[in-house]
Symmetry: C2
Subunit: 411 residues, 2 copies
């Protein structure tokens, strides 16, 4: 067994983000390795929930639409998110879910490219992304089609019949991270519009939408952005496209003048056109406060710590002999997001047994144990505990216990 | 001046719903006549907000999807709403916004009627309803069209080229209430599917979707259902249509097996197919608790009290000479919802001056003072105060003050 160069405690002392965990309300005796499914509760969000419910709604009632700026919240929150994904003000808006937002952007992109009838994506994209294309194409009829490109060599498969290339930057299972800059550039060379899904990117590492010349992006806020369960998603529309952008979910909140109640839809000539119905204010307001956790940290620092946590996890797992039992299906550290995926035939039961020990990770069908690294609240001591607990489970073969094998609807 | 038959105090004593106001957290010195825009905070919702944020999210983290039934919340809440709109279990689901839900249902309805290309609605429908049709038709191309029917004689304008008739039961401005039973029957005689928007109906009076043989309905929950600002909406799909129902916003939560992550969309053969992305759990959980206010009251009792409150308002206004200053644009009491609309050139400023006096109503462009009657928390003494205050404003012409004339973004 190798000796550690630094102990977990030493690494925590050297960690510039070590105090950030105090910004979260975390349950005791839990190591949370599932912040890539649902981030934990920031203390500021807890306070905001109280304020938006009891003061703003309870006391302000309808007048809070003005008094507490509810009407501007989608833009305020959008710009905050923009700051975390390399987008200058006025290009990001907070609204609806990723799925619905994909429908808006895909429709708008096809309209901007009337002579092209193909949407390209990877077969291993997150299912809802693909389902939304299928739903849209079914509505549009047989002129249009979806084409699957191989994640490993996207550039070589780009042809000039493709209207829009829809990619998730970080694969939800393996963590494989695509090169946004190079792929966007290659797509543009063929006149293809790009749509990036940042579900596993936003809040995890630096993203540079403007600098990469990305056309459109969507993302969710309940993973690394800690916005709460089912918190509203976002859309990025590059400034240069906003004048001709037209999306079909043309609800009143995206109208250029919603309260004039005019009989005809006239979409706002800005990213605001992506608003549709009345936004869920309570969830969005909680998200607004949750984002303030990022105010005094850089995504670069978060990314650096994530890489260290991952390296430490692997080193510890190796020392414990775990790497002979699991196969790592994630690419190397420079080509993956803030997660590690291990394949094991008993991944589901292992995950359940781990949860029973207070270490929460998650399972992704068919056989992936998925481990998320969220540097804002994870310490090196947490990782050490998690590996120790996994080692015990594997050595004792606890995953063979019946209680851990019963499937629940969600993990 | 006529004498009152009963004083406001006497009417309150006789009111069987008089204690129900205690279920709400209402600000002091406020008469709230805008529950038809945003219902006030139920105390149970306040408690639930605390629980879902701090316990379920904060402590349960990702495991709450199972432990606290988050995954089933759209159906649980849907069935609760169903009980208030005359829908048997399994036909209502809580999701997204009315606007987005209209898009789903309209698309599905057109698909069920491939030979018909017309969506009919009233020109004075709530704008977002019309905008959503416009957005959908723009996507579908020139084969399809929207046709406006006159609210006053819908039956005679129904022809067999209409695929779906989309109506809002209660007009958002005037309060005019359509005869759901008779119109649905007339539509069916022409083979037309019906889609009812219950924004100003649900929670205000008895609605009988099943008994009226309605095909589809949508509605919001932040008005008379008191679910909170931007609380999620709902969809009703009659059982008989669920097998062939196919809506295009085909996100993973509407898949028959969302966590199998299969590459192809296979919509659930139930109302659940209307789910799209991950639902906003915090807002929906608060709504879930808010709906419990209705557990021990009947919609019939609510409707009866609303009619009495409205009659009392009008009688008081008449006594005060107000009816010579305003014209009532609402139909008579049997043909309107739980609201009264008065037209006045200075309606906006009057509304602002009223708010300054602690009476919150709302303004609807171009010249409507809209007064909502929500019997769960309004007393006859409230109405008496509101009329007294309005009388003062009118007699003193306070609406001429500059401070009340400045428009804000929302009212």
């Amino acid at each position: 067994m190798m000796n550690k160069v630094f102990s977990a405690e030493q690494l925590d002392i050297k960690d510039p983000l070590r105090d950030k965990a105090q910004a979260f309300s975390l349950p005791a005796n839990t190591v949370y390795l599932d912040g890539n499914s649902l981030g934990p509760l920031p203390k500021a969000a807890k306070q905001q929930a109280d304020d938006v419910v009891n003061e703003q709604w309870g006391k302000g009632l309808i007048t809070s639409w003005n008094k507490h700026q509810w009407i501007h919240l989608p833009q305020i929150v959008g710009d905050k998110i923009g700051g975390l994904i390399g987008a200058k003000s006025g290009q990001v808006i907070c609204c609806d879910s990723i799925s619905i937002n994909l429908f808006k952007v895909l429709s708008a992109a096809l309209k901007m490219h009337p002579s092209r009838k193909v949407i390209a994506t990877t077969r291993d994209n997150f299912p809802t992304d693909i389902y939304m294309v299928q739903g849209l194409l079914d509505l549009l009829g047989s002129d249009y089609s979806i084409r699957y490109v191989d994640e490993a060599c996207i550039g070589s498969q780009l042809t000039d019949d493709i209207a829009v290339l829809m990619l998730t930057q970080v694969n939800f299972r393996s963590g494989n991270k695509l090169d946004m800059q190079s792929i966007t550039e290659q797509a543009h060379q063929k006149g293809i519009l790009t749509l990036w899904d940042l579900a596993h990117s936003a809040g995890a590492f630096p993203v540079s939408l403007d600098a990469c010349n990305v056309d459109f992006a969507v993302g969710c806020t309940y993973k690394y952005l800690n916005g709460g369960p089912g918190a509203p998603a976002f859309i990025y529309v590059a400034k240069r496209h906003q004048a001709q952008y037209q999306q079909p979910l043309s609800g009143w909140m995206g109208h250029s003048s919603p309260f004039s109640f005019s009989p005809d839809y006239a979409g706002d000539n800005s990213v605001k056109q992506n608003l549709c119905g009345t936004p869920g204010i309570i969830g969005m307001s909680i998200l607004d406060a949750a984002l303030d956790v990022f105010e005094d940290v850089s995504l670069k620092a978060i990314d650096e710590k994530s890489k260290k946590l991952q390296a430490f996890f692997i080193a510890e797992a190796k020392r414990a002999g775990l790497l002979e039992k699991f196969s790592i299906v994630s690419p190397n550290i420079d080509n993956r997001g803030s997660q590690l995926a291990f394949a094991h035939d008993h991944a589901y039961a292992i995950c359940q047994a781990w949860i029973a020990e207070g270490v929460i990770a998650d399972f992704r069908a068919p056989n992936i144990l998925r481990i998320g690294f969220a540097p804002l609240y994870l310490s090196f001591v947490d990782i050490e505990k998690a590996v120790a607990s996994l080692t015990k489970i594997m050595n004792e073969k606890r995953y063979e216990n019946d209680e851990f094998q019963q499937r629940q609807s969600v993990t």
